[in-house]
């Protein structure tokens, strides 16, 4: 059994949706997480809002951002238990973020502290 991070890549929802739509996405997200939790596969969830964010560049310059204007920005991630990346990907399919064309869910195995990474 491994742990996988399911990383949500999408633009900032607050910029493109009404409060009512945000409410709907909120419920869908909670229901999706509840589904995984009901199967006893949920480990944790971490939202990453776009306000109060910074980008540090290779020249050590610090700027505000990312602002979530592109579909590749990370909006948050959850951690699940799964036997394989494929099983984890099945969980990821249920995320409401995927209703937006071009949005993606990235599935990454979490390294165990077994000395290899």
């Amino acid at each position: 059994m491994n742990e996988y991070a399911l990383i949500m890549r999408h633009e900032d929802g607050t910029k493109i949706a009404s409060p009512e739509q945000m409410q709907i996405w909120m419920k869908q997200t909670m229901d999706w997480i509840g589904s995984i939790a009901a199967q006893n596969k949920f480990v944790s969830g971490t939202g990453l809002p776009f306000d109060d964010a910074r980008v540090v560049h290779s020249n050590k310059m610090v700027t505000n951002g990312p602002f979530g204007e592109i579909k590749e920005t990370i909006g948050g991630f959850i951690v699940v238990r799964a036997e394989s990346a494929d099983e984890a990907a099945e969980f990821a399919k249920g995320c409401p973020v995927l209703q937006g064309e071009g949005n993606t869910m990235e599935v990454r195995r979490i390294a165990k502290n077994d000395g290899t990474h």
């Binding site: 229901d31 509840g34 009901a38 199967q39 006893n40 949920f42």
Partner: protein
Amino acid sequence: MEQQELIPHLFRSEYRKIVSVLCRRFGFDQMEIAEDIASETFLTAAQTWGFNGLPQNPVAWLYRVAQNKAKNYLQRDLTFETKVAPQVKNDFPEHYETEIDLSPQNISDSQLQMMFAICHPSIPPEAQVGLSLRILCGFGIDEIAEAFLSNKDTINKRLYRAREKLREEQIKIELPGPAEINKRLDAVLTTIYLLFTEGYYSVSQNQVLRQDLCFEAIRLCQMLADNEQTNTPPVNALLALMHFHASRFDARVNETGEIILYDDQDTSLWNADMILKGGYYLNRSAVGSTLSKYHLEASIAYWSTQQADTKEKWENILQLYNRYLQVAYSPVAALNRTYALAKANSKQEAIVEAEKLNLTDNQFYFALLGELYTGINNQKAKTNFQQALVIARTSADKKIIQKKVDGLD
């Protein structure tokens, strides 16, 4: 007639007070002696009151006799130490103080301290519950055996091992300091919750015993809520949740012991006073910044006191379960969440979710699938109910599932 009824009632409520004070005084090293003295006191009462009738003040009589028996024991013990073991120093340590303090304050303090000592993570959960029932609640070994659907030998062994472990670990009988108290409180609340669950969902057919277990759990939690050092938000939340659930006792079972499902219950039998109390404690728990699983469960239990089948109710319950399962998974919670999903979203969606749960050793899993398939695919509903029937243990459970099967024909 009156005398025979008075003693068992007294036994329960006074035994636990006396035994807590004595246990704390004698420590885990001599805990059996403390229990023996308490038991002997009631044995003497049963014998003496039978001949001489009830004393003017039965409680004071019991305390006096317990104090004397304890004093006698301690003095014999002291005599042994001073006469037979001459190495003892001249100044007697506080250990040899022979007066037993049975004031209300010391009784309450002792019970609280014993609660923390007994609900210790070093002994298994069933042992914590068993020891709590014996010492904190004054239950007899027979009653405990019946509650656990076990036998006297098993229970005696369990309690014996638990006391041994507590002795070995040298668990102190005291209220933990402020740094430790929240963590230790966790263990106490878990035991109280287990005790309540045992009564609420118990397979034992003894209705009176089951309600007793629930009320004991409530009483213990109440003690925590009444003490400044232990009056925390989770304690109040647990108290609220137990009141909400216990409010439906009279409506859950009919005179012949048959189970009455929630939707069929006569709400006039729901105890409005307990629901109000639950609301009061829920309010009291709504302070601070941590949301414990008890808060979530209490909120769900609150919605259970509103019988009206509204979308709002079920959407709230669903979201509460969504959050609850993130912090505390249990098969029961997963099944309840799926039921709420059916009500809030749709049966079809819930069927898909239910099949993912795959709790094939659980009768309620198949009963849920049966419920969900009813009206959508009655053949599948029947198969699922029949599978539930195979796994169900009590006759009451089997009866109600059979009713569902018959309803589909």
